[in-house]
């Protein structure tokens, strides 16, 4: 029986998997939006905007994820206006850690997405941007209709691995009390002393999730591949 005494442990872990996915997906939306914006800005000729983008990337790339988790959970509510900080702190249990976890993972991953978007735009031939200008498109229109659609199709494979990273990284949210898959496996082990069963089940669930993502993205990659380009197998990168 699970700690609440209402169902089986399998059910308990599956709910954890749902929380993992709910956290990862919500954070992924933030990561894509912010990452696309920051990555794009860093390719423009606006000097101050490029500097600001670089600063943003350096800050969130050089602080460990767990420390950023603590910043969003413990520090940010204290720095906000008091009413807003209190409102965040008084949210009912899963939400009071879910919201900071989503913000943290979203911003943390947006930096990696920004790097990919920038690399994608820079990999396009210069002629593409110039052709946009020659057609009478404004800078914004060139990005919107010419550069970004191509860039996103090119960087889909690295974005896939960032999406898998965000699923794995969501486990760090257990440190601020979010009972996602890893957190529930640990709780199960503490209640039942079934160490091997708990962690084996969690490991298998992560592997199945990975497999599902790989299959889904492989299908998507085939659909949106730019005809005529060899799938870019970029240089080896450090990662985790």
């Amino acid at each position: 029986m699970e700690p609440g005494g209402t169902g089986t442990y399998l059910h308990y872990l599956l709910v954890g998997l749902l929380w993992t996915l709910a956290t990862a997906l919500a954070a992924w939306v933030i990561a894509l939006l912010v990452g696309a914006l920051v990555g794009t800005v860093r390719t423009t000729p606006l000097r101050w905007a490029v500097r600001l983008g670089n600063f943003y990337v350096e800050v969130f790339r050089n602080i460990p994820l767990i420390v950023q988790m603590f910043l969003w959970f413990f520090v940010v509510p204290e720095l906000l206006p008091e009413a807003m900080g209190d409102w965040i702190k008084q949210m009912p249990p899963p939400w009071s850690s879910y919201l900071p976890a989503v913000m943290c993972l979203g911003i943390f991953t947006s930096v990696r997405v920004a790097e990919q978007v920038r690399a994608g735009i820079n990999s396009l031939p210069r002629g593409q941007g110039l052709a946009g200008t020659a057609m009478g498109l404004s800078v914004a229109e060139t990005y919107r209709f010419v550069l970004l659609p191509q860039a996103f199709r090119i960087i889909l494979p690295p974005l896939t691995s960032e999406f898998m990273n965000i699923i794995k990284n969501s486990s760090v949210a257990l440190t601020i009390g979010l009972l996602e898959l890893t957190g529930r496996a640990r709780a199960m082990q503490e209640f039942s002393f079934r160490v091997f069963e708990a962690f084996t089940a969690a490991t298998v669930l992560y592997l199945l999730t990975n497999l599902a993502v790989v299959l889904l993205m492989r299908w998507l990659e085939r659909k949106v591949r730019v005809p005529g380009l060899i799938a870019a197998a970029g240089a080896p990168q450090a990662g985790h």
């Binding site: 602080i63 520090v75 969501s170 992560y206 592997l207 985790h240």
Partner: protein
């Protein structure tokens, strides 16, 4: 609520002498262990023996598919049993947080170092290997004196970048209550109820070290590049 940044000054000794020493020792030892084991894994993955290469491939893919936090838990609970099995003790042996973390990070980061070293080995032209064999060297001699030194040199910047990530990841030993830099900061934060000050300070320290190291790596990158 007022802020009290004095708490940082009062706990500097504990934070750096205990905490940061733990973090840096763990990073350095796990880096060495991870690169050695990772290079072996890379050689296994490139082996022509299907069993050897799929064994290494399976290990690397498994490690890269599950979260580091889960791996830390796995080893924290497994290592005492494996240790007992090795020394043939009846009871699970006692393993401290440091040794458990060291084994975890060596095994986990090896999977990432393996992929880097594999790319490094594959970047060496085939002719290099053949000329090694033509000179009468065997597989191990060719690897040790022809292929690996070049592969290693090509990959130094990526290996160092991975080590900076390893340095940041060691903060996750928080989940097994080890006293690394973050663990020390968290203990002071909870004891004196100074969470805002201590966690902000921890963020600044991690930022300064990681940023400094990555700037050094960028400079270093230009100097070690092999001129072709």
């Amino acid at each position: 609520m007022g802020f009290d940044f004095d708490v940082i000054q009062r706990s500097l000794g504990y934070l750096f002498l205990d905490g940061m020493t733990f973090t840096l020792t763990l990073t350095a030892l796990a880096m060495v262990g991870g690169i050695v084991f990772g290079t072996l894994l890379a050689m296994m993955r490139l082996s022509s023996n299907a069993i050897v290469s799929s064994l290494a491939g399976g290990y690397v893919n498994l490690m890269r598919s599950i979260p580091l936090v889960l791996v830390i838990f796995w080893f924290f609970f497994l290592v005492p049993y494996i240790g007992a099995w090795i020394v043939r003790a009846d009871e699970p042996i006692k393993v401290g947080a440091f040794h458990s973390a060291l084994i975890t990070f060596t095994m986990f980061e090896a999977a990432y170092y393996c992929e880097i070293m594999r790319a490094g080995i594959q970047s060496i032209p085939r002719g290099q290997v053949w000329s090694g064999y033509a000179l009468g060297l065997d597989y191990w001699q060719t690897m040790a004196s022809v292929v690996l030194p070049q592969a290693f040199r090509n990959m130094i910047p990526v290996l160092l970048t991975q080590t900076i990530i390893l340095f940041q990841d060691t903060s996750l030993v928080y989940v097994i209550s080890a006293t690394d830099f973050l663990g020390a900061a968290a203990k002071v934060a909870n004891r004196d109820y100074r969470l805002v000050e201590m966690y902000s300070f921890a963020a600044v320290v991690y930022f300064v070290i990681s940023y400094g190291l990555s700037t050094l790596v960028k400079r270093f990158q230009d100097r070690v590049a092999i001129i072709r």
